[in-house]
Symmetry: C2
Subunit: 464 residues, 2 copies
């Protein structure tokens, strides 16, 4: 089965593909808001129906939350070919604040912009548009050759934007069905508009909320100021001690399990010539704030962080109130890499805090998410095959890159199915994910679809 | 004119005095809420009418805010006697949260409690009850002797609980009318139920709100975490640096103008045997948090403070948001003593902050109140005369004490009329000022009235 006519068909069918995507985008499948529960069901039904038109054996699978969609297409004579699994999510983020949108977020349209055509709607990129690049590649392949080049399982969830509560139980219960030779995920971005990317390193995430309590009620600073311990002062001292002067995190054993970056990867990343001046300049900054001695990409992709995401205490409204608060609290999160142990870090953080508490202050905690960093074994031939296939579609060669963020599903595939997933996506930095005016470049959608056709071709030729 | 029959008349007239106070307390003269503006007028009218029954030449004086009340009573043959001025305020604090009151805050009543009878209502102590102790003393004096022992000017304001915006302009415009030989203020408390007090040292107050700005918008910690400066981290470092390990404030020149406490005063305060264990224990604390080397009363009355009254930044609601905020801010206030210069301290604080700012962070300020500490010259004979008169009424000898809080009117008298006011009051620590269930002990009201009769007698015998 040759690739060229599949690519030609994708080009010819682009307008229809856009129309299908727009139909999908019209369903307001916001997973976090119960008001839209029925719409999540509709989005799942839409996917089942679309997969069925491809000849898939597809079904909606109910969960305690929003349903999963699973579909299988098994071509004749596929025994010696690798079995691929593709993951995406059909749910989207809320749309507030609505007045910042230039159009109804669930009335998609192709808009002309200074940077070319874009598809504008909530979910245009994250993840409906990305998900459809894969389905459209399959559609053209089937239309051209009558069947896919290998067996494919489609696996879609509807709770990615609300913490995926049903995902692990479902994957464990249906482990055999969702285990394949190669797993593909389309929920990431290009390195830039010329350089496609496979994300092979992801940072994990650990969150902890700490509350310092001093006096048993709010006090008046005229009556108690000078004799009573102020928990904001204590909290400030704790937070100020989390980094040393070089930006290095001071929690004991924090860097245990942080891998040394190989010279090869360092060189590859340096070759990307990342413009950190432009990156920081876009948000009004000029200097790298991470640990000295690392490049921007190394800080973002291979180094752990400790950030204070929120703080509150006392009276912070308009005007002034001379209160000595009873409590002050902060939300702290860590991006973790390599083999850092989230729970060990939580324990060491808490021990460090308790060592800094003055008499008369106590601390309580509210534990939040805990997931370790993820590193794919790129030695598996599928990674290099996919990288070459991507390079054929885009102006510059594809790169193995890291991601500063966390994509928990990648780790779940590793843990539950033993497969290192290949993360390929076509989003751009300005796609406004989770924000008003989300968009997906038409180029991302079109070349993304062509990219998947190339990747399917390349992976189907691998021996398993 | 002898004192004894005046005291006897006060005792005999107590029930009527309570009824008059209750009539006054029924007027909801909340100055901060415009809804009660008409009630503030009514309270002023009530005072004018009451002073008129004493034979005073009294009038309501309109201001841009709530009115002042000024009244004069000039006895015959008063030429050689000191002219006294008495200040109080007729406005009260709001009553929220109403559901925590055990009765309608504007339906006063005498209640029996474990600690004796109390008058329960908003303003029962602060300041209607206290103000009426002075008027009732005058009333009994006039009833008994036909006239007062010296010339008295009454000066009442209705904006004390809302920042006294009209006070300074009014005092300046009417300087001659409100200047007297001796000024008396009744808005403070007893040292304890046995020891009456004249407050001769008051702390000033300086407030500044600082906002640190890093990136020009909120960022996602997955995308920017590790390379971008986090303003909460910067703010924490600044706040943590404001005190050294001994609790001493580190702002340069901060202690300039802090007076050395005289050995006499130290001994007097030590003799009060202040129970700081009980004081701190009542709010769940056990250790003095101020600068080492000072007693609790020294910390509260003679030492300056630096307190963080509020802090905010990033996401502090339920759950977690991995945001790197653009801004973080804190409200900082200082209680000042002696001759510390508020504006010099503000300047030095800001210079210190600016010296700690990393590249990429800026700071903005919102200046709040600025008033210096106040120290009365207790060498003036009126102070000692009043102290002896108070000692005659209460079980233990009266003390010259300090106050951790600020009473701006005291400084205004010093500045505008050149007179150091004598601050005498009968409030107790558990009077619930500004809180639900405010009360004034019947003992405070009764012995307070008797105290003023004694003080009037003593002061009227001074030569001027």
């Amino acid at each position: 089965m040759s690739l060229a006519p599949v690519l030609a068909r994708i080009d010819a069918d682009l307008d229809n593909a856009i129309e299908r995507l727009c139909n999908f985008l019209r369903i307001p499948s916001i997973s976090t808001d119960p008001i839209f529960a029925e719409d999540c069901q509709k989005a799942a039904d839409w996917l089942v129906a679309d997969l069925t038109t491809l000849g898939a054996e597809a079904s909606k699978r109910q969960t305690p939350g929003h349903p999963m969609v699973v579909g299988h297409i098994t071509p004749l004579y596929s025994d010696q070919k690798p079995h691929l699994l593709f993951y995406g999510h059909y749910d989207v983020q809320p749309v507030d604040p609505l007045d910042l949108w230039n159009r109804d977020p669930f009335d998609p349209a192709v808009e002309e912009t200074d940077n070319g055509k874009v598809i504008r709607a909530r979910g245009a990129c994250d993840d409906k548009g990305q998900l459809m690049t894969f389905i459209e590649a399959c559609r053209s392949w089937i239309a051209e050759h009558g069947e896919l080049p290998c067996k494919i399982t489609f696996f879609f969830e509807g709770e990615e934007e609300s913490g995926s509560p049903s995902l692990i139980p479902f994957m464990k219960e249906n482990k055999d069905e969702i285990t394949a030779d190669i797993a593909l995920i389309c929920d990431t971005g290009l390195f830039d508009s010329r350089v496609p990317a496979i994300t092979t390193m992801l940072r994990g995430l650990l969150g902890d909320e700490i509350t310092i309590t001093g006096p048993n009620k709010d006090l008046h600073s005229g009556l108690y100021g000078g004799v009573s311990m102020n928990p904001i002062r204590v909290l400030s001292r704790i937070l100020a001690s989390l980094h040393d002067e070089n930006g290095r995190v001071t929690i004991p054993s924090f860097y245990d399990g942080v891998p040394e970056l190989s010279d090869t990867l360092k060189e590859q990343w340096a070759a990307l010539e990342f413009d950190h001046d432009a990156f920081l300049g876009g948000v009004g900054l000029s200097a790298l704030a991470g640990e000295r001695g690392y490049s921007a990409l190394e800080m973002l992709w291979s180094q752990p962080t400790c950030e204070i995401n929120g703080i509150k205490g006392g009276y912070a409204g308009d005007g002034f109130k001379t209160v000595l608060p009873s409590q002050a609290s902060a939300k702290i999160s860590f991006r973790l890499v390599g083999h850092q142990d989230p729970e060990a870090i939580r324990k060491n953080l808490r021990r460090m805090i308790e060592g800094m508490l003055p008499v008369d202050c106590s601390v309580s905690y509210n534990a939040h998410g805990s997931s370790g960093g993820i590193v794919m074994s790129t030695e598996a031939p599928a990674f290099e095959a996919a990288r070459i296939a991507l390079s054929d579609e885009w102006p510059d060669e594809a790169a193995f890159i890291g991601s500063g963020g966390s994509i928990p599903i990648a780790g779940f595939f590793q843990e539950i199915t033993g497969v290192d997933p290949i993360l390929i996506g076509f989003g751009k930095d300005d796609d406004q994910l989770h924000s008003p005016n989300e968009k997906y470049d038409l180029e991302s959608f079109h070349k993304g679809t062509r990219s998947w056709a190339r990747v399917l071709d390349a992976l189907s030729r691998l021996e398993v």
